[in-house]
């Protein structure tokens, strides 16, 4: 990858990666650090990385860096257990989008990551599997579970309203 291509990748993907990480960890500074760290790694390893694969490389690097940071901070348990995330808050939503994003925050870490990659970036099961180091079946199961959870969450709020 040339310098020019590297700079193009900054323009093209830094927003996407930042959004993805920010949605996952809800901390702007950490998200910015992760984006910067990912691009630093890309710069160091730019020679063997083809421009066509750079987005996937960046997401994979950012995702793994994020997981490392989360594990170090022990802020979020990396389990697939909703009970950890179920908190009771006042529901004061103005539209369905807010409800949905509130629901995403309550998803287990892994489900949140895969559904964000799926919906935000349009990645296939295979691509998500490569990024998250899961297999395709696991990715599919997590996405299905996440959708059912989100549907139930939205359904509950709608009923309350």
């Amino acid at each position: 990858m040339t310098i020019n291509e590297y700079n193009k990748s900054v323009e093209a993907y830094s927003d996407h990666i930042y959004r993805f990480i920010l949605k996952n960890i809800k901390n702007e500074n950490t998200a910015q650090d992760i984006v910067q760290d990912s691009y630093e790694k890309l710069w160091v390893n730019r020679k063997p990385v083809y421009f066509t694969k750079v987005k996937s490389y960046l997401f994979t690097t950012a995702y793994r860096t994020m997981i490392d940071i989360i594990r170090k901070q022990k802020r979020v348990s990396l389990t697939d257990d909703y009970s950890v995330f179920e908190t009771h808050e006042e529901n004061d939503y103005s539209d369905i989008n807010e409800v949905l994003h509130a629901a995403i925050e309550k998803l287990p870490e892994i489900q949140r990551s895969v559904i964000l990659l799926r919906d935000y970036e349009g990645y296939s099961y295979k691509e998500i599997a490569d990024i998250t180091n899961l297999n395709e079946s696991q990715v599919k199961v997590y996405i299905y579970r996440a959708r059912v959870y989100l549907k139930n969450y939205i359904g509950k709020i709608e009923n309350l309203v």
Binding site: S83, R145, R147
Partner: protein, 336 residues
């Protein structure tokens, strides 16, 4: 076990009512009561206060039970079909099945909620530190060196420099010279002209000479001339030799470009040889080196800069294209 007496009999009575006494203890208790009949009533009172177990049940057990993961992720077939439809992961049979399910208004509503689970990225969230990520220094360096220095150098060369460059070697290059040779004697039907050019160590022309030997026979039929070979006659270190063979030709024939850039004009009385020093080889060589240089530069900097030469069939350069990130320049050589 200690023996029952008036200080401890109550404990025995309690154990008896709760059926906790062993057989031997029971026998001892019976013997004790036989000796103390007044205490029988007290034993009866113990039995009366025994509370029967209640059948009251806690009805909100379900609320207390924590769900296991498996219970959490129980996905009904309908839910599966809905998600499969959203994920575009549904086959024809499942589509038909879902369609049938959606006749139910409640399920229709549930499916609509499923559709709402599709997330939309918030494009307002932007990474604002892109400048930090960009490789400014290198780009600047590249722009300075490639876009200004290289471009300026190449442009200058295109406009003036080629002559300047080549002129700097003018002293080493022999200018085109026309030779005229008088016919002495034709030999056979093969004519031969030989030229020797001599150079000293500094590549400056020192001497030029042409010696013709053995001109003997005239071919009367064709009037064709023959010139024998010449020899480099000098003790100089470097020399170039040029030999041109002329096939049969008639008086007044003009043969041009028969060997590189030599033109020969033949008449019955003379042969005129126009010999152009091959300046283009120096020029071609320059562009070949330039092409290599730019290629090395590109490899080192990983940058978008290229110099492409287009070659003619004879190996000379027809066109030079210089392509940098910000501009492109082309030079075409009109060669005769």
């Amino acid at each position: 076990m200690e023996t029952i007496n008036k200080h401890n009999y109550e404990a025995y009575f309690l154990d008896f009512t709760e059926s906790n006494l062993s057989e031997s203890d029971e026998q001892e208790l019976i013997r004790f009561l036989a000796k103390n009949p007044s205490l029988k009533n007290e034993l009866n009172n113990f039995e009366q206060f025994k509370i029967a177990p209640s059948d009251i049940k806690y009805t909100k057990k379900k609320e207390l039970i924590k769900k296991t993961q498996a219970q959490h992720f129980e996905i009904t077939e309908f839910e599966y079909l809905c998600v499969a439809s959203i994920e575009n992961d549904i086959n024809e049979t499942e589509k038909y099945q879902l369609k049938a399910e959606l006749r139910n208004t409640k399920k229709q509503k549930a499916f609509e909620i499923f559709i709402e689970t599709k997330l939309q990225a918030n494009s307002d969230i932007r990474y604002l530190l892109k400048d930090v990520l960009r490789r400014k220094y290198f780009v600047l360096k590249h722009r300075i060196i490639v876009s200004i220095a290289s471009a300026a150098a190449v442009l200058l060369f295109f406009i003036f420099g080629e002559n300047m460059f080549l002129n700097s070697n003018n002293e080493k290059i022999i200018q085109p010279i026309a030779y005229k040779q008088n016919i002495i004697k034709p030999k056979n039907n093969i004519s031969k002209i030989s030229k020797t050019k001599l150079y000293d160590k500094n590549h400056t022309q020192q001497e030029q000479t042409s010696v013709i030997h053995n001109q003997t026979i005239k071919n009367s039929a064709n009037n064709v001339l023959a010139f024998e070979d010449s020899e480099p006659r000098s003790n100089t270190d470097l020399y170039k030799e040029l030999t041109v063979s002329i096939p049969e030709m008639k008086s007044g024939a003009l043969i041009s470009n028969i060997h590189n850039n030599i033109a020969i004009n033949y008449t019955p009385t003379s042969v005129a040889v126009n010999y152009d020093e091959p300046q283009k080889s120096t020029q071609d060589q320059f562009w070949k080196y330039a092409e290599k240089g730019v290629h090395i530069w590109k490899k080192l900097t990983k940058d978008d800069v290229e110099l492409k030469n287009e070659y003619a069939k004879n190996g000379s350069i027809n066109e030079v294209n210089f392509i940098a990130s910000n501009f492109q320049f082309r030079k075409t050589f009109n060669r005769k």
